[in-house]
Symmetry: C2
Amino acid sequence: MSKLISYYEEHGDRFIEGLKELLRIPSISALPAYQADVRRAADFLVDDLRRMGLDSVELIEGDGHPIIYAEKMDSPGKPTVVLYGHYDVQPPDPIDEWKSPPFEPTVRGDDLFARGAVDDKGQMWILLKAVEGLLAVDGKLPVNVKVLIEGEEETDGGMIAKYLAEHGSELEADAALICDTEMFAPGLPTITTGVRGIIYCEIDVTAAKTDLHSGNYGGVAPNPMQAMAEIITGLKGKDGRILIPGFYDDVQAPTDAELAAWKKLPFDADEYRKAEIGCTELTGESDFGPLERIWARPALDVHGIRGGFTGDGAKTVIPAKALAKVSMRLVPAMDADKIAKAFCDHVRALTPKGTVVEPRVLAASPSAVVSTDSPFVVKAAEALKETFSKDTVYIRCGGSIPVVGLFGDAGISPVLIGFGLPDDNLHAPNEKFHIPNFHKGVEAIGRYLRMLGE
Amino acid sequence: MSKLISYYEEHGDRFIEGLKELLRIPSISALPAYQADVRRAADFLVDDLRRMGLDSVELIEGDGHPIIYAEKMDSPGKPTVVLYGHYDVQPPDPIDEWKSPPFEPTVRGDDLFARGAVDDKGQMWILLKAVEGLLAVDGKLPVNVKVLIEGEEETDGGMIAKYLAEHGSELEADAALICDTEMFAPGLPTITTGVRGIIYCEIDVTAAKTDLHSGNYGGVAPNPMQAMAEIITGLKGKDGRILIPGFYDDVQAPTDAELAAWKKLPFDADEYRKAEIGCTELTGESDFGPLERIWARPALDVHGIRGGFTGDGAKTVIPAKALAKVSMRLVPAMDADKIAKAFCDHVRALTPKGTVVEPRVLAASPSAVVSTDSPFVVKAAEALKETFSKDTVYIRCGGSIPVVGLFGDAGISPVLIGFGLPDDNLHAPNEKFHIPNFHKGVEAIGRYLRMLGE
């Protein structure tokens, strides 16, 4: 390993410079205006994979943003590992809260700040640079590798879903290494064994045929903003319980072993509230601990309400319509389709007086769990332990990585190793990646792939 | 009168062309970006008043947008009448719902479409053009006239409030003719005898120190959008009752005579709902009729909620903060300061778990009522009846015209004559002015000023 580690150390700064180049490309998959930039990020990676010496480098095209494919299949008899990541990023707004521009990667202290720094350009880059080192030092890879990097993870992931459904089994891969999660705490090697599912919805509320003056009509005209507030409070109570009938029916509790392991994690709820979230009080179901609420309980959140007047000043309008963006996080064994239907039925049943309400499901994917008994997980835990000199912990992730389930469906064991930190401001202003974690990550992945080839 | 009416008929088209010029100037007082346009509209009117032959034409300057002053004091022994209007307009959004651009005045059928067409450029223009005709035909005015046209009616009206408080009694005026209201129905001459007051507020809700990923934090992090929904439903119930303690304590019912007169108005609640509002059901306090709810009952409306993600696509953010814009309409004898305090106290008391809530009052002004016994009102009713060949009706206005109370405080009798129509889309897309009403309005005001001079 020492030769490999030396290579990584020697080339570490160059790796970071390359990552910065990629971070300068605003590959925001959700916003049509950035389509050319998304493509530019894909082309950048194609060039880099070719330069690294991977074979069959190509863009898999379709209706959406292309998937990048590459392979190195020179190790007959060895396992085949898919390296998965995504090159698209979240929109950067609210833009005025960034201390440095989101697409001008900036190092402050040991951190690299940029949209996508950790989610997922930086972590995806770990996989590629680990492979680059192995190829440079050994001339070949210890296992067979197939690279799949998608460009729609932050939207609907439609391309990769279609690709894995149609061609997943043709990949004939044994494991999929997904580098898009985080460490439970700084320095604590972590494997994620479950992700929540997600249903993303919009709710349209329409009232009058046009915007109205609140002076002339206030007191008789239905107000879609008020109506939306009634719907939202009808979806979730003040106690954090979701009020959709049947919502909790299929929720499966984690195993006693999992719960016991979580209790042993270094976690201080008050510190978490203050330092990580920064609010006066945690919310949600008080009969479950915070980690259990995030990892093993479903959730519902409103992301924004469009409509009316939100500029500066005092416009007195009763808007004709409003739109809310709402998502739910699902846990085992909730059925995404069933919950989506229950949500829509309940929203319609809540229809406030004088309004027409129309819920709409934009995307739905179920939760997924990974067994800690999988040999690919066991070896990953060993590789991490060796790199970080600490026992690897198993956690779940409250977020949704639909591809985990998709790999599972294609008979490929997902392995989720992450090097993000809890304060990396994922999806928020001032997203960052802790640079030492990048370098440790490259070393850990290089070591893991070697161990898989032994 | 026939000579005057002929003049108005001959010059009617020119009046409309002049109005169009004024409507092309986007004098949006609420938006700082349009400051130069607001000034341009003021200059346009100054030029026109000078051209008409008024004296002492000047801009009254101060912290905000200037007030236009002009006078014609050549009728000793006759009453002095203030002609009041405003040259500023509401923002035009949502801009994509306009059939023709808001600042390109467009005639379709008998209607002139533009932001400000009726509120209030068109109606203010009626006063000026009536005066222009009297000066042209008679060489002098039948009464003494002082013109006061403000540029902040659609924001806080700060300039005119300060001016009238400080200089109102120096005006030594008997009546103030305010042309900024509407007719109860097409062809039905109407005098408005009361306006509601308004308190315009903002509510800040802050939770986490930064925007959060709803996957990683959904279930424990307080969500300001959810919190805002809880606050809003805590302000007004599903039955339309406002839940602020003490809110209704000082509400004064209209007189029996007023109520009886309102019952006689040509009003069909179902037709009103369908044709004018265009919603499935009217909302509000069901123990009061629709007209009573608008004219004589207080109201509360949410105008918009800022925060989170409202673009296209699926961003899964728990925003760090949200801001709501809320206003209340006040009726006699509610005290604006007392209600503002009760609102803020109640909002703070509603503070949802895990959030910090800060209400803020942007503007507050009380309601005002005008006695139908005032000789200036009686003559106005006669002038209108003669012009429209129909008995004049007395209504109230659900909107707020703070200047009504300010004139009253300065010992000047307010008279509210309006020529807008209920479907003129005030403060909404496709605002219009019914062109025949403009011409009838000019005639009615010319006649009224003559009658006041008799």
